[in-house]
Subunit: 187 residues, 2 copies
């Protein structure tokens, strides 16, 4: 039996991105978002949605650039923390001990310790409502060498990404599933 829950922003899974940016004084900031995703293959683009009240919102407007960093589960505490405080009040890199690295192509820092970093130049700004969508063209993807297989494909079990469950405000892991006659290998 279907039950109607009304207007909600409920999907499974929500991804977890940590956005890197510089403020007007080039102080690095990072912020966790779970609203976003790849949105075009040519040019390769990723979208993130932010409220105007966030520190990252203005940082992206100033620099026309941001990074999307995929955390592995060993950084779940840091990821959760940087989603709960504002860069207006806290130096989140100092507080967490994570390392901002400026990328040569854009004025935005990526997070050294996170296994995958998307280097994005602002491509479009879409006003939707309470949230503004920033679409970034992915100029480069950086990845830790040790999580690549011999064919340069990332190994998911080494990335150890995780998801967010907005209904219960908790996180969930991602791993191999096997079904009768239809394992992940057979697709």
């Amino acid at each position: 039996m279907k039950k109607s829950l009304g207007q909600q922003t409920l999907v499974y899974p929500h991804l977890v991105f940590v956005i890197g940016s510089y403020d007007i004084k080039n102080k690095p900031n990072m912020m966790t978002v779970s609203w976003g995703g790849i949105c075009c293959s040519k040019p390769p683009c990723v979208a993130i949605s932010l409220r105007k009240a966030t520190y990252t919102y203005n940082n992206i407007l100033i620099n026309k650039a941001f990074t999307v960093n995929i955390p592995s589960k060993k950084y779940i505490k840091e990821t959760d923390y940087v989603g709960t405080v504002s860069g207006k009040e806290v130096d989140k890199f100092k507080k967490t001990g994570l390392t901002p690295v400026k990328h040569k192509l854009i004025n935005a820092p990526y997070i050294q310790e996170f296994p995958i970093n998307l280097i994005c130049q602002l491509y479009k700004i879409i006003e939707i409502g309470l949230h503004t969508q920033f679409i970034g063209e992915i100029l480069d993807v950086l990845i830790d060498e040790e999580i690549l297989d011999q064919g340069n494909k990332p190994i998911l079990d080494k990335i150890q990404p995780f998801c967010y469950d907005s209904a219960t405000r908790s996180y969930y892991g991602v791993g191999t599933i096997e079904l009768d006659g239809f394992t992940t290998k057979s697709i």
Copy 2:
């Protein structure tokens, strides 16, 4: 050591949505997408990205409506299949045995067997490049009663959603992770 992979659409995890729509003759169609996500809270909106060549693309233009259906892993075979063939050639509901149900608010079918269905009215169309982004306002969320807890919160372990890994073209499950002193319950 970081390795540069160049311009790629690589994030983890990719979600898996199955989009429901009617064609010009009201024949129901469904299509798997992994590029999309929630993009605004007020109004509550979800974005999906489609190529113009897809059957769903025109269906959404005609009806200004679509559904986003979250599959559980027992339907992984059907989900994979409907992402690999076109509704121009195949009646995918007949072929899979899944049930299209018209929603009273819009002219689009949701998938009865999938545990969560987002009922979306077309809100904005964003031309990005090879892909067009359709932003839908979520008018209602339908959910199977048996996956709700007593507070009407969905129970992730009963939804059994899964993710897509675009690098290896395989699927992965989503489940509880526990870290020392920081379980999903403690956040």
